[in-house]
């Protein structure tokens, strides 16, 4: 029973990460920009959040710590996502290449910054890329000794807001128009560049928060040399499986969350233990599942029609 609880907790934690990041990808792609760089954005968001958690006083109220960390993660993610915006929107660069560069850049930059800070703080003796935040992380939990945290509440709020924003508002209508038929949007006076920047910045904010949630999932310190272990790409698979729709994305995220959580808690289940699978199999599971899911769902793709294509004003 305890193991089931643990599984549920970890599932919700990882599903939160995937939901947030996949929603970010969804907003970017709905505006017409393919965001392969989510992994890098997550790392930068994690960096922003970890810096706050690692350096702020644990004496502050939990909600203040929470808000400051989320704010830092968002801002870091958004600033970093501008790299994609500038390359894809202003310079019409290959979006896959720009995104790939961002993943490498995000990781290298985070390592350099954390190491530089550690070197400076220790006078050269500590050149690790680690930040620890045991005390502050505890303040974010809703119940001590569990994984239920304020982040889950935040994810639920963001999910509902993302749905409403996309389907019920003027902004959402315009954003989707830019991803489907930018010429049509432009012909009725909508600035495609502005809407695409909005999409990319939202993906930066959500990807950043997702990164922060990831590094606080069951751990109280993070080594940036490891990055976020391909979660940015798992989120892309979740987004595709969720057909670019917020209400489906959350279901896809829960499914992937279960498999990722099994890697943490599989030893506690008798029937799984009886299978005697080696741990690496559980580690691989989310990636294998996402390959299988993609194989079944990619044929009939509901991707926004104009995604990945640089918008040129003079195109008719």
């Amino acid at each position: 029973m305890q193991q089931v609880m643990l599984l549920i907790q970890y599932t919700l934690v990882y599903a939160s990460v995937l939901t947030l990041v996949a929603l970010g990808g969804c907003y970017s792609e709905r505006s017409g920009i393919i965001n392969i760089g989510l992994e890098g954005i997550m790392v930068m968001g994690a960096l922003g959040g970890a810096l706050v958690l690692g350096h702020i006083s644990p004496e502050l109220p939990g909600i203040v710590i929470f808000l400051l960390a989320v704010l830092a993660a968002m801002v870091f993610g958004m600033i970093f996502s501008l790299l994609l915006g500038v390359a894809a929107i202003n310079f019409k660069a290959d979006q896959t290449l720009a995104g790939t560069a961002m993943n490498m850049l995000g990781l290298a930059l985070a390592i350099v910054i954390v190491k530089a800070l550690n070197i400076a703080a220790s006078g050269g003796s500590n050149n690790s890329a680690e930040i620890a935040y045991t005390a502050t992380r505890e303040k974010l939990l809703l119940a001590q000794g569990t994984e239920f945290s304020m982040f889950m509440v935040l994810t639920a709020i963001i999910l509902i807001a993302a749905y409403i924003l996309l389907y019920k508002t003027r902004f959402g209508l315009r954003l989707m128009a830019c991803g489907e038929h930018p010429q049509a949007a432009n012909s009725v006076g909508i600035s495609v560049a502005k809407m695409r920047y909005a999409g990319v910045l939202i993906s930066g904010a959500l990807g950043g928060i997702g990164g922060l949630v990831y590094i606080t999932a069951g751990v109280s310190k993070t080594n940036f040399e490891v990055g976020v272990a391909g979660f940015g790409f798992l989120a892309l698979a979740v987004m595709i499986f969720g057909q670019w729709k917020p209400h489906r994305i959350v279901l896809a995220a829960l499914l992937f969350g279960v498999f990722r959580a099994l890697a943490n808690v599989n030893s506690g289940f008798d029937f799984l233990a009886a299978l005697n699978l080696p741990q690496p199999v559980y580690n691989m599971l989310p990636y294998i599942i996402s390959l299988i899911v993609l194989a079944f769902t990619s044929k009939r793709s509901h991707a926004p029609k104009a995604e990945g294509i640089p918008y040129d004003k003079s195109t008719r």
Partner: protein
Amino acid sequence: MEMKNEQKHSSFFKRLLANPGFRSFTAALLCILIGLLIGYIVLLIINPANAGEAIGTILKNFMTRNSERLRLKALGNTLVKTAPLLLCSLSILFAYKAGLFNIGAAGQYVLGAGAALYCALGLNLPWYVCLVAAVLAGALLGAISGALKAYLNVNEVISCIMLNWISLYTVNSVLKDFCPVGYKDTHTLTSMNPSAVLPTLGLDGIFGNSSVTIAIPIAIIIAVAIWIILTKTKFGYEIKATGYNRNAAKYCGMREKQNIILTMVIAGSLAGLASALLFLSDYMQWDINQSSIPAMGFNGIAASFLGGLHPIGAIFSSYFIQHITDGGSSLDTRFYPVQIADLISAIIIYLCGFVLFIKLKMIKASGTIPQKRPDMAAEIKHDADNKKGGDK
């Protein structure tokens, strides 16, 4: 008189700009310079007092060593790692010509290493069998991504990333039985199975470095071969036609699905060979605890784009990337993180995204192709549609 002179200059300059090779070279140089400049600024921010020396260390790499012998040996080390990097960049470049983004070179490299080391340490096989095993392993992984793309429309970037992680966990668990007790690195080949070490043909003597093997000439020969395949053969003609316009390739009866798979198989083989060339040189061993994917495959992206997506260009760009990476690793860790070099390569890749834009500016400045009517833009958009595959 003065006017005339000016005109002469400008026309010479225009002729230069009209040359595609010159354009690629200039654009690459620009990316490198901006990348280094940003790297230098980062060094300045971290520790201003030693920044000048540090950027010098990165750029000079082996030249900072004290004696001729040590310099040669260090150069040898850089070359040992340039060979796999070159092959990874060829892998990415070859796939890119067919319109595929082989970010899976990293995973194909990992699986290749696993296959080569398993054959060498587990099965005690000679080097050439290990080499073939690595090529096959890479090819297999490439074939999976290719088949998923061709038959099920799975975006190759995402499938490749998933396979990268699957490969890493697989190889880590397969190789864990081949480490000395209590160590996280696999046995050296020299200690367990010297027949698996690549022959040196005397190159080791020249560099005073036992790791310098035939890997280096093999990599260069393959680069030339790839260049010939792409420009002079029927197969290259088909691959490039598929990459430029998949629909037209289908229209004229090219078997696009088979070509996609074949391209990924070749790309995978190249990446698989890359790791075999490194690990069978016995220069380094596999760390079974590594929890992030080796950077070699990703750096290959930098090298291929920096080299203007040209196989011969890739030889020079691969050397350059490895040169600054090794230079970065000799930074004084009391002041600087060694990943500054990774940061610089990443910035260079990012800037490569702007190369098309820079080249377009140069074409305009050269005035060779008078920009036609606005329909030009429509064509370009159309083209982008075609590259997406059009079948969505």
